[in-house]
């Protein structure tokens, strides 16, 4: 990963915190589910075609192979993306690092955080995970950390809220 922090941002690599490994599992389940749905659709259309008397096995077989390959590559990429997420609490700001193709490193001062969302969709909830999203007054500073276990999400939310209040700066 190209975003080794520069001297002023240097922290030992083990100081960075990562989303739960369950996030990787969750992404894998999502991709498998999407692939299965696509495969069922292909099989269904092929079955209808066979019923209509136009039996053709090469096209569906090719499509299924493509779906399997796309699912495999998608999963590899998703796993790398999950591993690339990292965050680090420093004295005055939070660092969030993410991205494989486009690597991003955000610096969000605690005093600039206006409010903090903890979001958990149905799939995330099933895995006991949540996403923490930090909002500043700037619409473009989009900082979120997905795949945090509930207790970690709650800890982060409370910590950020407390530090944000202590260091709040006006617009």
């Amino acid at each position: 990963v190209a975003t080794d922090p520069e001297p002023a941002l240097t922290q030992p690599a083990e100081a960075w915190l990562h989303p739960s490994p369950r996030l990787g599992t969750m992404r894998r389940v999502e991709i498998v589910a999407a692939s299965v749905v696509a495969a069922i659709a292909v099989l269904g259309v092929a079955g209808l075609a066979a019923l209509a008397g136009a039996a053709n096995f090469t096209v569906p077989a090719l499509l299924l192979a493509v779906i399997a390959l796309a699912g495999f590559l998608g999963d590899r990429f998703a796993q790398r993306r999950v591993r690339a997420w990292a965050y680090l609490e420093r004295e005055d700001d939070l660092l969030v690092r993410r991205g494989v193709m486009i690597s991003r490193l955000s610096v969000i001062p605690y005093g600039r955080m206006q409010f903090i969302d903890v979001i958990a969709g149905p799939i995330e909830r099933a895995f006991g995970l949540a996403t923490v999203r930090m909002h500043t007054a700037a619409a473009s500073s989009d900082a979120r950390i997905p795949g945090l276990p509930h207790e970690e999400a709650a800890r982060l939310r409370d910590l950020l809220a407390r530090l944000g209040e202590a260091r709040a700066a006006g617009l």
């Binding site: 190209a2 700001d93 486009i102 610096v107 001062p109 007054a137 617009l171």
Partner: protein, 429 residues
Amino acid sequence: VVERAEVAPWHRLHPLSPVIRAGRVFIGAVIVFAGTLTPGSNESRSGVVTRIVIGVLVIGFGAISWLVTRWRIEGNDLRIETGLIRRNSLRFPLAQIQAIDVVRPVLARVFGLAELRLRMGGATAGHARLAYLNAGEADAVRAQLLALSQGTAPRADQPPENLLLSLPTGRLVASIVIGSPMVTFLVLVAGFGTAALLSPKAAIAILSSSGAIAIGMVTFFWRRLNGGYHLTVAEAHDGLRLRSGLLDTTAETIPSGRVQAVRMVEPLLWRPFGWCRLEVDVAGRQHRGGENSPERQQLRDVLPVGTHEEAQRLLDRILPGAAVARTRPPARARWKAPLRYHYLSWGHNERCAVTTTGRVARVTSWVPLTKVQSLRLVQGPVQRRLRLATIYLDTAGRAVHAAIRDRDAAEARAQLGELTTLSRAARRT
């Protein structure tokens, strides 16, 4: 509910407000009906009656909305209550005021009225509108609100303003004529001309169907002319004051320290004249709607057209100490940004960062480090191969996003750390 000591009595808007609000609709309607009501047209009676009923309804609703609307200043809040069936009580904390506009459409000027518009900061911010008040009252309320928002007592005497700049009309007109919208317009006209030469029938079809575009163009040019006409920029004790307008006038006050970013644009066509445009960004969501809203343009032009010298003078007043030496990116950035490369540069001191970019027009942005909300270091695949990276400085403004593009990756990382430290220090002071 604990009422504060200084609770002012409720005020109402001016009784003529519904008339002026309906006025725009009315003028349009009159123009449309004028055609049908000419003598000789066999207008049916019921049609006329319908229109009269609609007119009465419009006035009636306006009157009701006036009756149920009231406002007052409660401590450090402006409170507006409105709505007949669903009462709506809006509370605007004055500490969050980003700018105050006194807007006067033509019709309101005829009656000596003005609208007061407060631009609020914050994530869920809206705009407080008081339409319409007496012109004199609007000025007094503006001064009072500004004083309250800055935590000072309103001053009875208005100290004289220090006039920084007034815009010559000739230059404004010239700048509108020489500009990319005008080029677009001429290209359209030329296209139409050739079409007319080739086949007159097609030309008529184009002409009849392009009415909306023509109206849009005229409105656009008109808004530019009106927005910059007789513009004066003055420095008052409570902030920067901008006044402009030919028919619809606006007087805007930007309290000092509310400027999130300043941007200077130098379009290609203006370069022979050495002109530029200076824009100021304040916080708050972009607001749509409202009659002839000047905030429809995302940024406020402090200087619609001016020389570099004037722009520099204004910049010194808006962001003191903004003049910084700039450095250029490494030459290999040419591969990443071939069109932008010759403009790219950036610099900073302990108070302010400045970046220059642009493909055709040169765009220079100044961001005071106290206003930086967050920083981002971004590296795309092409940039990684070229060992480049971009730093974004996010501000609460609506349009200016300062990006320090395509710097050497190691330098960018070092600068990210330094800018973080500097903006933290700037925030504390």
